[in-house]
């Protein structure tokens, strides 16, 4: 009984992890390869301060998004682990 529930919970946990990972990697791709390279010319018609937007994404913006993505991932995984009853130690 406990074993089946555990098994289901494990599968649900893993499916949720994969879903979260795919969503975040999509943002990762759009911020760097997308905004910085593929759609750069289109974005350059807009400006952030004195920098063309596409250029700024390639040299600064993508990096800020990368950092936020990892911290959001930690937050979302912690929530997921709570939901699936995984106790976290408090070292982090």
């Amino acid at each position: 009984m406990a074993e089946t529930d555990g098994g289901n919970s494990r599968q649900a946990y893993w499916r949720a992890t994969i879903g979260l990972t795919c969503r975040l990697l999509l943002i990762w791709f759009i911020a760097s390869f997308g905004a910085g390279i593929l759609f750069r010319d289109f974005l350059d018609q807009f400006h952030i301060g004195g920098a063309p937007l596409g250029f700024w994404f390639a040299q600064n913006g993508a990096i800020y998004i990368f950092v936020s993505l990892i911290f959001y991932y930690c937050f979302a995984m912690a929530r997921l682990e709570r939901k699936h009853n995984i106790k976290r130690d408090h070292n982090d």
């Binding site: 593929l38 920098a51 990892i70 911290f71 699936h84 995984i86 976290r88 070292n91």
Partner: protein, 594 residues
């Protein structure tokens, strides 16, 4: 104090700190030696990872590369940071959950194969030795350029320092020296950047100065830079001559290469849990981003400064008295060559040839509208090194920059040494040749291997100065890591059906194809017209990574699945331990909630 005294002061001070940490962090077990006892705080590990990662190339060369390449330099900025997202989401927490010592350890156990382990060792050693030659060269250059110590002696001093903390303290010693080295290098990088940003744009924060107007003018800094460089016949700063697909491929190769680099991965083995590994990757990237978001500003400012101070300046030869001649030139309304230029000319990083014989220095691009030939050739490393002098900052800042450059090179060298020594002592000796070896013997072998690796790295560094191809072979490290190591680790976690045959095929295809391609175009006389899909050797690892993934998948499907025990192990590393306990022991008998 003179500039040189300040330099001696900072280098001496920082080196004493490193040795002090080495003595304090001596270790007594392999557990401590390889992974610092799994006991490093995630934030501390993030800081150590940042220093581990940011090498002499990041510290000295990157801003200069960007200054020359403009938008084209973005491949380094995105490539060398975006890899951490892959690391945090796809590799680090799972490899930590696996809970072993090295990258070949994972490959060998996951693919239940000694051959796979040995091939992974070869990949790891190849990547690490290529990389470490560049670090030792950086140490030698810093010593010979600033302190007047011969190049070889500079490398030997660097070796002795690394020997201390790597051999005595292993991963534990390396971790805490890397923390100290991060503090030194980030301070040394940002202080001059802040001053220069203030001078050029009036903004304290370089990242804001980057998008601001020129100080006291109504034109944006980047627009002014674009106009300045195009007037001299260079490509517009915010554009590139690289094809879009090549930009795409190089960025990809650097990202996946970063995620597959063994010396970065093993840093995440040192934290207590999988969730600590995740947050630690976030801290690491944040500490790295401090330097990486400053670098494009430093690059752009340096380009402006260089053009303003050097172009059309009147040259002063070495047999003239500098201050007298400079005063004469100023009195007649001219612009004398700046004194920092004269200082750095001696190192060979700057060259001036008076083509038209007018005694003035014309700096021009390949298609100058006024038809004047270029006379000035700067080396890209000059921009970070000479930055404090260009901005006329006090002597102590120069000393700090030297100490920062050495910290960047030594911290990366130490991380690489750890990969090399653990691959030999743990994967080859303990796991492959002598499985009976006990812990104390393995620790002795590990120390011996570390000492031998320090020696080998030093010799490589001394050779590298004569061969002069270090910058070129760095493309090997990222390409090989992306095409050979990343696919097998990734599939090993996310596809249970991946087996031994698939892994071996995948690693070999990635290793051989990438190596041959880079070798052919870097040393074998290949020309850019022959590039596959128009992709340069720097970006080819990205293309071959997909080949390696595809071959691995096909071979795995047509050969038998891995044993049940291995598939269970994959299940276990996907889900944190606490839930595993519930499954196997059934200790929490109540109905599952949620």
């Amino acid at each position: 104090m003179t500039d040189q005294l300040w330099t001696y002061f900072f280098v001496g001070l920082t080196f004493s700190i490193y040795i002090g940490i080495a003595l304090w962090s001596r270790v007594t077990s392999t557990n401590e030696f390889y992974v610092a006892g799994y006991d490093v705080h995630p934030t501390i590990n993030g800081m150590a990872t940042a220093a581990d990662w940011m090498s002499a190339a990041s510290f000295l060369s990157m801003a200069g590369l960007i200054a020359f390449m403009g938008y084209g330099g973005s491949v380094y900025l995105m490539g060398w940071t975006g890899g951490y997202v892959l690391l945090a989401l796809l590799l680090a927490p799972f490899l930590r959950e696996f809970g072993k010592f090295t990258v070949p350890d994972f490959v060998g156990d996951r693919y239940y194969s000694t051959s796979a382990r040995v091939i992974a060792v070869i990949c790891a050693l190849f990547v690490s030795f290529t990389y470490i030659a560049g670090q030792m060269k950086g140490v030698g250059v810093a010593f010979s350029g600033f302190l007047g110590i011969p190049y070889e002696w500079g490398i030997i001093i660097g070796m002795v320092i690394v020997f201390f903390y790597a051999v005595l303290g292993g991963m534990k010693g390396i971790t805490y020296t890397q923390v100290a080295q991060y503090v030194v290098l980030i301070f040394a990088y940002t202080v001059p950047a802040i001053f220069i940003s203030l001078i050029i744009t009036g903004q304290v924060i370089p990242q804001i100065g980057f998008v601001s107007n020129m100080a006291g003018a109504d034109a944006s800094m980047l627009e002014t830079l674009n106009q300045t460089v195009t007037a001299l016949g260079f490509l517009e700063y915010t554009s590139t001559d690289k094809s879009m697909f090549d930009m795409f491929a190089i960025t990809g190769a650097l990202m996946f290469g970063t995620a597959g680099l063994p010396h970065v991965i093993i840093r995440f083995f040192t934290v207590p849990t999988a969730s600590a590994a995740r947050i630690s990757a976030g801290w690491a990237l944040m500490f790295i981003a401090l330097l990486y978001t400053t670098a494009p500003a430093v690059g752009a400012f340096a380009r402006i400064n260089f053009i303003n101070t050097v172009n059309e300046a009147t040259y002063i030869t070495d047999d003239q008295d500098y201050s007298e001649a400079a005063a004469d030139i100023r009195a007649s309304g001219g612009k004398p060559v700046p004194d920092w230029y004269k200082d750095w000319e001696k190192t060979g990083l700057l060259a001036f040839e008076d083509v038209n014989g007018d005694g003035r220095m014309q700096y021009r691009g390949p298609e100058a509208p006024d038809g004047v030939n270029n006379e000035v050739t700067p080396n890209r490393d000059i921009f970070v090194l000479a930055n404090p002098q260009i901005a006329q900052l006090p002597g102590w800042v120069i000393g700090l920059v030297v100490a920062g450059g050495l910290a960047a090179a030594l911290s990366t060298a130490a991380g690489l040494l750890m990969v090399i020594s653990s691959a030999i002592s743990h994967d080859i000796c303990r796991r492959t040749l002598f499985p009976e070896m006990n812990d104390q013997t393995e620790l002795r072998v590990a120390r011996l291997a570390a000492a031998a690796a320090v020696l080998a790295a030093g010799i490589l560094g001394i050779f590298a100065s004569q061969l002069g191809f270090v910058a070129q072979v760095v493309a090997f490290a990222f390409g090989l890591a992306a095409a050979s190591l990343f696919p097998v680790i990734f599939l090993g976690i996310f596809w249970k059906r991946m087996n031994k045959q698939g892994a071996i095929a995948s690693m070999l295809i990635g290793l051989i194809s990438t190596f041959s391609y880079i070798y052919y175009f870097k040393f074998g006389g290949g020309s850019p017209e022959q590039w596959l899909f128009g992709v340069s050797p720097e970006g080819i690892g990205f293309v071959f990574m997909f080949a390696s993934l595809a071959i691995g998948l096909i071979v795995a499907v047509i050969t038998p699945p891995p044993p049940q025990a291995v598939q269970d192990m994959v299940e276990d590393i996907r889900v944190p331990e606490q839930l595993n306990l519930k499954r196997t022991v059934g200790r929490q008998a109540g109905p599952t909630t949620g």
